[in-house]
Subunit: 287 residues, 2 copies
Amino acid sequence: MSVERSIAIFSPGLLGGSLVKTIQQRMPGVEVRVWARRDEAVEEVKNLFPNVVASTDLAAVIQGASLALLCMPIQYMPGIARQMVACDLADDLIVTDVGSVKGQVVAELEPIFQPSKAGFLGSHPMAGSQHTGLAHSRGDLFHQAACILTPTGQTKTGHLGRLRTFWQKLGCRIQEMTPQQHDHCVARISHLPHCMAVLTTLAALKQDKRVLDSSAGGFRDTTRVAGGDPDMWAGILMQNRAEVVSSLQDAASVLLELVEMLQTMDEEALRRFLAQAKALRDLLPAV
Amino acid sequence: MSVERSIAIFSPGLLGGSLVKTIQQRMPGVEVRVWARRDEAVEEVKNLFPNVVASTDLAAVIQGASLALLCMPIQYMPGIARQMVACDLADDLIVTDVGSVKGQVVAELEPIFQPSKAGFLGSHPMAGSQHTGLAHSRGDLFHQAACILTPTGQTKTGHLGRLRTFWQKLGCRIQEMTPQQHDHCVARISHLPHCMAVLTTLAALKQDKRVLDSSAGGFRDTTRVAGGDPDMWAGILMQNRAEVVSSLQDAASVLLELVEMLQTMDEEALRRFLAQAKALRDLLPAV
């Protein structure tokens, strides 16, 4: 039996919808409730998940929940958290999020819940898609995904263990970092690749998009994530801007090295440079 | 019935091997011969393709062929072409290649065949993989791939039409460009994405490769081609260095724009920048 009795999901997009599907599959008997801002979104949830309680009434959704997951864009989280803490919360409530940036989120949300018996603890399941919205949600989105938890000195007793158990039941591999380590790590492994896909698309096609007629798998894969939602990604990159800028500066520096090798025709150095990248990329297990 | 009677393939790697498989599937009745530099490679070909004549004897392989395909790294092509032209060549022989760079290749190879009745005409099927070697060859590698042909004022009568027909039978969509237009186009759509995948890998992992434990699909896809063969890619990038440097300089310039938006916290400009990339990337049909 699950230690969670009732799970409240705030905002039914790709991640929120995939959470509902996965919890229903993997945690039978646990009640799931969904809060959405708009009536239309509530109707969509009710149509897709007939067994789920869905409402625009935040107080009704959070009442009695043992776990609440914030799945809206990061910038809206503090406002929702302040509405939440004014409600009647269960003593054992853990509030977490699924946001891609942690430093600022944890710094803002943790103090909001500090005076209550509930507590905030950040989560970041490394799962997503260039597609967004409830319609793209999947029951296998979290399967074998890394999920980073970001406990702090203020994290309440028992919360870390319960949250680990929850994400593990959903199929995730758990990692723990401070919010700052998290932001450094995901800038390198997620935000930088996103930026590079965007830059590759622009540099390849801005002058003349007809070159697209000759494209093959290399262009397709290298630029796939540039099809992601611009509003969501503008929020993420802006929130993590210091770490993102630092990783982009490292990319600019290796770019200049590469240009230098080509201009001086140093084929031997170029071969070593490409071999170093290959050795690093080959560390990733094949799927 | 095919207009080609006997097709000679020089070097049985990923592309050479995939050519043998595809020709056997799609052009039944056409003789296929394979030349390899090493005895071991000849044996490997004979084991994989019992109906194919394979030899290290270049003169024997080219004799009577109506089409010869050069599939070795670009830098070895002129040497092989000079050995070829000293042999007994059929009057209707078309020599082509599958190399990723055309300006220098065409400038070197076309004059070698000019005095003979045979003629050179460049081809570039936009098909490949991060994996190389005969063992990875596939009968569907060319299916719906773009294939760029690079005729010049010296291209002999009838050769362009025959070569179009050949690649179409293999499943390719044909494009025609000058060798210079080709090198500009593939620098943007293929060589730049390759470089960006390499740079993303290095900038993400050089400092601390443990961030790889948190990687997801974005890093995987954006960096996939960085696993390609360093020797082959050093040759390609070096041969097309002027166009590659120019596209890298464009990438550096959009990179600096992005850093500037983040540093000045211009979220509105960032959103437009990401939306522009998304609009361009969305032009690519979904697979």
